[in-house]
C-alpha cells in the first residue's frame, strides 16, 4: 500500500512538469515579459529602463527554456522555467506580478471557495441520493418518467440562466437575500444560501439520473430479490440494503472531486462576488498575471492528481478485493 502510494506520487512529478511546460509555453506565446511589465507598470509613458527594472525585480529577465549565456548545466537550470518550476514543487508560489504574495492570497481565498463549494457538494450529494432513492421507489411509474424528463430538462439549461434568473427573482424581486457579496463569520450564510441553492439545483438533473442508474443496477441483484421475497417493505429495502450497497460506487465516484473543491467555482464566484479561488483565477486570466495563473494551474493539477490517488485508496478501503501490493 505504502509502496503504491509512493509510486503514484513519483509518477505525479513528470505530470506536473508537463503541466508546467504547457502553462509556460502557452503563456509566453502570448505574452512577452515586456508586455507583462507594461501591463503592471500602468504608466502613461513607459521607458525601456522602467521595463528592465521591473523584469529584474520579478525574475523575468532570465530566458525561458535555454540560457545561451551560461555554460554546462546552467544553460538549462539558469532559466525561468526551471527556476519557477522548482519553486512550485516546493509549494512556494512566490510573488504575483502585481507584487502580492500568492500563498497568502490563496490561504485567504481558499475559505470562501470552500464555504460555497463544500455545502453545494454535500447538500447536492444528499439531495441527489434522496431524490434518486425516491424515484427508484416509484420506478417504472409515471412519476419516474416525468422526473427523468424534468432531469434532462434541468441538464439542458445553461447554468448561466439559473444564476441570472435566481438573482433577479430572489434578490431583486423578493428581497430575500443580498444580490452578491460575502462576509466572514456567521453572517456568511445569508450570502451563501442563493449560490448554494442554485448550484444544487443545477446539478440535480445529472446527479439524480446518475444515482438512479446506480441504484437501479443494484436493485436487480440477487440479494435485493431475496430480501424482497422475505417480505421486507420497500422502504426498508431501499434505505437498509440498497443505500448501503449503492453508496460504495457513489463514494468512490465522488472522491476525485473532493480535493478540487478547493479550487472553487469560476462562474458562481464571479457572479456572486465571492472572493474565492475561482474568481481569483478568472481575474488573473483577465489581468494576464502569469504569477497567479501558473500557481493556480499547478495547484489545480496537484489537487486533481491527489483526487485520483484518493479514488484508488477509497477503492481499497471499501472493497477488500482490491489490493495494490503486487
Amino acid at each position: 500500500m505504502l509502496a503504491y502510494m509512493v509510486r503514484r506520487l513519483i509518477y505525479a512529478v513528470p505530470i506536473l512538469i508537463g503541466v508546467n511546460l504547457i502553462t509556460f509555453a502557452l503563456f509566453f506565446m502570448v505574452n512577452t515579459p515586456d508586455d507583462m511589465a507594461r501591463a503592471q507598470l500602468e504608466a502613461k509613458q513607459t521607458t525601456p529602463e522602467m521595463i528592465q527594472a521591473w523584469k529584474q525585480s520579478h525574475g523575468y529577465d532570465k530566458p525561458l527554456f535555454v540560457n545561451n549565456e551560461s555554460s554546462g548545466l546552467d544553460t538549462v537550470t539558469e532559466t525561468l522555467f526551471v527556476q519557477e518550476s522548482l519553486k512550485l514543487f516546493m509549494l512556494d508560489f512566490g510573488q504575483a506580478d502585481n507584487g502580492r504574495q500568492i500563498s497568502e492570497d490563496i490561504q485567504e481565498r481558499m475559505w470562501p471557495s470552500l464555504a460555497i463549494a463544500l455545502p453545494t457538494f454535500l447538500i447536492g450529494l444528499v439531495t441527489n441520493i434522496a431524490l434518486a432513492l425516491l424515484i427508484v421507489l416509484f420506478r417504472g411509474s409515471v412519476l419516474d418518467t416525468a422526473t427523468m424528463i424534468v432531469a434532462v430538462a434541468i441538464m439542458s439549461i445553461s447554468g448561466l440562466f439559473y444564476i441570472i434568473a435566481g438573482q433577479v427573482l430572489f434578490s431583486k424581486m423578493l428581497h430575500w437575500v443580498p444580490i452578491s457579496g460575502y462576509e466572514s463569520g456567521w453572517e456568511m450564510w445569508r450570502f451563501l444560501i442563493l449560490p448554494v441553492a442554485i448550484g444544487v439545483f443545477a446539478g440535480l438533473g445529472a446527479g439524480v439520473r446518475w444515482y438512479r442508474s446506480i441504484f437501479l443496477e443494484e436493485i436487480n441483484k440477487d440479494y435485493i430479490r431475496t430480501a424482497r421475497a422475505k417480505g421486507l417493505s420497500e422502504i426498508r429495502l431501499l434505505f437498509g440494503h440498497l443505500l448501503q450497497n449503492g453508496l460504495l460506487p457513489i463514494l468512490t465516484g465522488v472522491v476525485v472531486i473532493i480535493p478540487t473543491l478547493f479550487m472553487g467555482s469560476l462562474i458562481m464566484e464571479s457572479f456572486f462576488g465571492i472572493p474565492g479561488l475561482g474568481s481569483y483565477t478568472i481575474d488573473a486570466i483577465n489581468a494576464q498575471d502569469f504569477g497567479i495563473v501558473k500557481a493556480m494551474v499547478f495547484l489545480g493539477a496537484l489537487l486533481y492528481i491527489i483526487g485520483l490517488i484518493l479514488t484508488d485508496l477509497s477503492y481499497a478501503f471499501f472493497d477488500p478485493r482490491v489490493r495494490f501490493d503486487q
Partner: protein
C-alpha cells in the same frame, strides 16, 4: 447506516413539516432586527456614520511612489497629503496649500544659480520654496511606536509577534509624530530609485535639478534606510524642519500641478524601516498595502479580496470645510457646513463589487450611498433632452436620488496613424481622406447611442474646462462642422463624399475599382463591444469604405500602436493636470512613437515642425492672451490636418441618495471624501422601506411541499400492496427501468467548464 428503517416513514412526513416550520420561523425572525433580509452588511454598521462605497478591481499599489491609477488614488488621496491640493469648488481648477502655510514661492535663477527677474532671458532654473504648517501629525501607526527609552518597538518584530498580526493595526502599541520637510524630500529620493518603478521618474529626471545623477547613483545597489536619509539630490534642499525647496530646469509653470499629486506626498522614514522587515513582506504587509500618511483618514483594513476600511485619523486637525468659491449656479446648501472641522464622515467601507449589475441593484436598494451610471442603467436613471442636457427620471426623483454631472478633462479619439501610407501623410489627398472620414464618423450619434448622451463631441484635442478650449461662432472645428443657431452641426455626408472623391477614392473605391479597405484596431472585447464595432463599420460604409476590425487584447493592441503598425485605432487621454500643454503634447513630434522608440504618447505619429515649435513656446508660457492666440493657431492646424477623428469628452454622471450630502464633482481633486457628510438614520429608514421581503411565496412553497407528501405516501402504499400481490409483474417493469438506467451520461456529466458547478 440507518439501522431502523421501519420508522422512517412517519419521520419523513412529520419531520418535513417541522423542518419547514422551523426554517420559516428562522428566516422570519432570525435575519435582522429591522426586518430587512438582503442587506449586504450588518445592521449596526448601517446605523453608524459610515459611508458604503465599492471598488471594482483591487488597487494594486497604494505606495504613492508607484500608484497612478484612478482607483488607487481614490484610496490613498484620503491618506496622503502632498503639499498642494485643488480647491473643492473653484472653477477653473485652482490650487491651494494643503500642508503649507502659503502657496510656494518661486525664484528664477540663471545657469550659475544667481537670482534673476522673472522676465529675464537668462533664466535657466526655477526654485520653489515650501513652508510647512507645524500642526500636522501622522495617523497612529505601529512604525512610530517607541518604548519608554525612545527605542522603536516594532522595527524588529519577532516570529511570535508576526504570527499574531494580519495588519499593522493589530500590534498593540502605536505612535505618531509631526510632519517634517525631510519626509517630502525622502519621497523625491524614493522616486529616483528605479526599483520603485515610479511612473513619473522619466519626466522628473529631466525636470528636477540633479535627480538624474542621483537616480543613476542610487539605483545600482540597494540602499539602507540610513544611506537613503543621508544622501541628497542636488536640487532638493531641506532648510529646516518646516522649510524645503525644489529647483527645476528652465521655466515650467505646470510644475505646481505635479505637487498636488501623490508622488510628492511625504513618506516618514520610520514607515520604510518598519515595512522593510521580510516577515511583513511575506504577509503582504508593506507600504504598498498599508499607507502611512497625515491625511484625514487612515487605512485600517486592506483586504483587496473583499473590503477596505478607512477610519478617521484622530490626529487630523488642519482641515476645515471651505466657505467660499462655489460657482453661482450651484446649490448654495453646499456651503452650509462651511468652517466645520474635517472629516465629516467617521468611516468609509469599500466593498469589492466586480460586476456592474449587482452594484446597480444594491444602489437602488439603498445599500450603496452613491453610484456611477453604467450605459445600461442609464436610461432608467437619466433622461437626455435634445440639447444634451441631463436630468433625472421621475422614478429616481421619487426615490429622492440626486445626481451630478461634469465633463471630464479627458479625450477619447479615433486616431489615424500619420505614418501609414494610406491614411497618413501631410499632402492634400491624405488629408482629405482623413477629413472625409472625420465627417462620416458621427460622434454625436455615438454619444447618443453608446453613452446615452454622456459626452460632448470634441472640436479638437483640448477638453472643456481646460484653458484654451473654445466652442463658439468664431472658434470651432469648421473642417467637420458648420455653425448653426444651436451651435456646431456636422457637415453633410455629401461633402464627405466630395472630399473622398478629391482624395482619389470616388464612392470609396480605389483606382483599381475595389472598395477601399481600412483596418481598425481596438482592444474592445466586452459585451458592449460588438455593437460598437458594428457601428464603426456602418460609419465608414456610408462612404463606401470597408472597415476591417481587428479586436485584440490590450497588450497586443498597445504593442501594435507602439510599433506604429496600425491604421485606425481608438485611444484616450486623461488629464494629469488642468493645462492645455498636457493635451497638446499628445501631438508633439518628439512624443511620436516612431520618434521615441515606442515610449511616446503621440500614438498617431503626428509630427509637424510648425506645431512642434509652437508647442515648445506654449509649454513655458503662463496663461494670457499671447498663449491663447498661440493655442488657437495650433488647434486650427491640427483641425485642418485631422490626425484624429476628434472623438469625445466623456461626462461623468454620479448618482447619490439624499442622505449623502456635500457631493460636488471635481474631476481633478481626489481627496474630497473628507468634505462629504451622511445622515445615517435617514438611510436606515429608506433601506427598510425599500427592502421589505416578499414572504408569501415561502408559504406557497411550504404548502406545495406538504401537499405533495400525501399523494406520494399513498402512491407508495398502493405500490407496496402491488409488490406483495404480484412480484412477477413487477419484475418486468423493473427490467425496463433498468434499461433506461444507463442513460445517465458518464462522460459528459463530469466535464469541467460547463454548468455552474465547474
Amino acid at each position: 447506516m440507518l439501522s431502523r428503517p421501519g420508522r422512517l416513514q412517519t419521520f419523513s412526513v412529520k419531520g418535513v413539516f417541522w423542518l419547514l416550520l422551523a426554517l420559516t420561523l428562522l428566516t422570519l425572525t432570525g435575519c435582522s432586527e429591522d426586518g430587512v433580509w438582503n442587506r449586504p452588511y450588518s445592521d449596526e454598521q448601517a446605523r453608524t456614520n459610515t459611508l458604503f462605497s465599492n471598488f471594482a478591481t483591487p488597487p494594486k499599489h497604494l505606495d504613492p511612489v508607484r500608484s497612478y491609477s484612478a482607483n488607487e488614488w481614490a484610496i490613498i488621496s484620503q491618506v496622503y497629503e502632498p503639499p498642494l491640493q485643488y480647491h473643492y469648488f473653484k472653477r477653473p481648477y485652482t490650487l491651494e496649500p494643503l500642508t503649507l502655510t502659503q502657496m510656494p514661492q518661486q525664484r528664477f535663477l540663471d545657469a550659475q544659480g544667481r537670482e534673476r527677474e522673472a522676465t529675464s532671458e537668462d533664466v535657466a532654473m526655477t526654485e520653489y520654496h515650501f513652508h510647512l504648517r507645524d500642526d500636522i501629525r501622522y495617523h497612529p501607526h505601529a512604525a512610530f511606536a517607541r518604548d519608554a527609552q525612545g527605542r522603536f518597538l516594532y522595527h524588529a518584530l519577532s516570529e511570535q509577534q508576526l504570527d499574531r498580526i494580519k495588519r499593522p493595526a493589530d500590534l498593540p502599541e502605536s505612535g505618531t509624530r509631526r510632519l517634517k520637510a525631510q519626509d517630502y524630500t525622502l519621497a523625491i529620493k524614493r522616486m529616483a530609485i528605479t526599483a520603485n518603478h515610479s511612473p513619473i521618474l522619466g519626466t522628473m529626471r529631466e525636470l528636477i535639478v540633479g535627480l538624474a545623477d542621483y537616480s543613476d547613483r542610487v539605483s545600482k545597489k540597494p540602499l539602507t534606510i540610513k544611506q537613503l536619509r543621508e544622501s541628497s539630490v542636488k536640487g532638493v534642499e531641506v532648510h529646516s524642519d518646516t522649510h524645503f525647496s525644489i529647483r527645476i530646469h528652465g521655466r515650467y509653470p505646470q510644475f505646481l500641478y505635479w505637487l498636488s499629486m501623490n508622488f510628492f506626498a511625504p513618506i516618514p522614514w520610520e514607515a520604510l524601516a518598519f515595512y522593510r522587515q521580510p516577515g511583513l513582506v511575506k504577509k503582504n504587509l508593506s507600504l504598498d498595502t498599508y499607507p502611512v500618511g497625515t491625511g484625514a483618514y487612515q487605512l485600517l483594513d486592506n483586504n483587496p479580496n473583499r473590503q477596505m476600511r478607512l477610519v478617521r485619523n484622530p490626529h487630523y486637525q488642519h482641515g476645515t470645510y471651505p466657505t467660499e468659491g462655489l460657482p453661482d449656479e450651484a446649490d448654495p446648501d453646499l456651503l452650509a457646513d462651511g468652517g466645520k472641522p474635517l472629516p465629516l464622515i467617521d468611516e468609509v467601507v469599500y466593498l469589492l463589487e466586480k460586476e456592474s449589475v449587482p452594484l446597480w441593484n444594491k444602489f437602488l436598494q439603498g445599500y450603496y450611498d452613491a453610484s456611477g451610471v453604467s450605459s445600461d442603467s442609464f436610461d432608467q436613471a437619466i433622461s437626455v433632452s435634445s440639447q444634451g442636457d441631463l436630468s433625472l427620471t421621475s422614478e429616481m426623483q421619487q426615490k429622492g436620488i440626486q445626481f451630478l454631472s461634469a465633463v471630464e478633462p479627458t479625450v477619447f479619439y479615433l486616431g489615424f496613424n500619420m505614418d501609414d501610407p494610406v491614411v497618413g501623410g501631410y499632402d492634400k489627398t491624405a488629408r482629405k481622406l482623413r477629413q472625409a472620414i472625420s465627417i462620416a464618423v458621427d460622434m454625436e450619434e455615438y454619444i447618443s447611442i453608446f453613452l446615452n448622451g454622456r459626452g460632448v463631441a470634441a472640436q479638437g484635442p483640448i477638453p472643456p474646462g481646460i484653458y484654451g478650449y473654445e466652442r463658439n461662432r468664431d472658434h470651432f472645428n469648421d473642417v467637420i462642422y458648420q455653425w448653426s443657431d444651436h451651435g456646431p452641426v456636422r457637415r453633410p455626408l455629401d461633402e464627405a463624399r466630395q472630399l473622398l472623391a478629391e482624395a482619389g477614392y470616388p464612392d470609396g473605391k480605389t483606382p483599381e475599382g475595389e472598395p477601399l479597405t481600412l483596418y481598425y484596431d481596438t482592444p474592445a472585447t466586452g459585451p458592449d463591444a460588438k455593437s460598437q464595432l458594428n457601428w464603426y463599420r456602418k460609419q465608414l460604409a456610408k462612404l463606401g469604405i470597408e472597415l476591417v476590425i481587428r479586436a485584440t487584447d490590450y497588450n497586443r493592441f498597445q504593442e501594435k500602436v507602439r510599433g506604429a503598425k496600425v491604421q485606425l485605432f481608438s485611444w484616450g487621454w486623461n488629464a494629469d493636470y488642468p493645462d492645455p500643454e498636457n493635451f497638446l503634447f499628445l501631438l508633439s513630434g518628439d512624443q511620436a512613437v516612431i520618434n521615441s522608440n515606442g515610449s511616446g504618447v503621440n500614438a498617431s505619429n503626428y509630427d509637424r515642425p510648425q506645431f512642434n515649435q509652437w508647442f515648445q513656446q506654449v509649454k513655458r508660457m503662463p496663461n494670457g492672451p499671447e498663449r491663447q492666440a498661440l493655442i488657437r493657431k495650433m488647434v486650427k492646424l491640427v483641425q485642418e490636418d485631422a490626425p484624429w477623428v476628434w472623438g469625445l469628452h466623456p461626462k461623468s454622471v454620479s448618482l447619490f441618495h439624499d442622505w449623502y450630502r456635500n457631493v460636488w464633482a471635481n474631476p481633478m481633486a481626489n481627496n474630497t471624501l473628507k468634505y462629504h457628510r451622511l445622515e445615517a438614520a435617514k438611510r436606515v429608514e429608506k433601506q427598510q422601506a425599500w427592502n421589505q421581503p416578499v414572504v408569501w411565496p415561502l408559504w406557497v412553497l411550504a404548502l406545495l411541499i406538504m401537499a405533495s407528501v400525501y399523494p406520494l405516501v399513498s402512491a407508495y402504499r398502493r405500490r407496496q400492496r402491488q409488490t406483495l400481490v404480484g412480484n412477477t409483474a413487477q419484475n418486468a417493469v423493473q427490467n425496463r427501468a433498468a434499461d433506461e438506467s444507463k442513460a445517465a451520461p458518464s462522460t459528459s456529466s463530469r466535464k469541467s467548464g460547463e454548468g455552474p458547478s465547474c
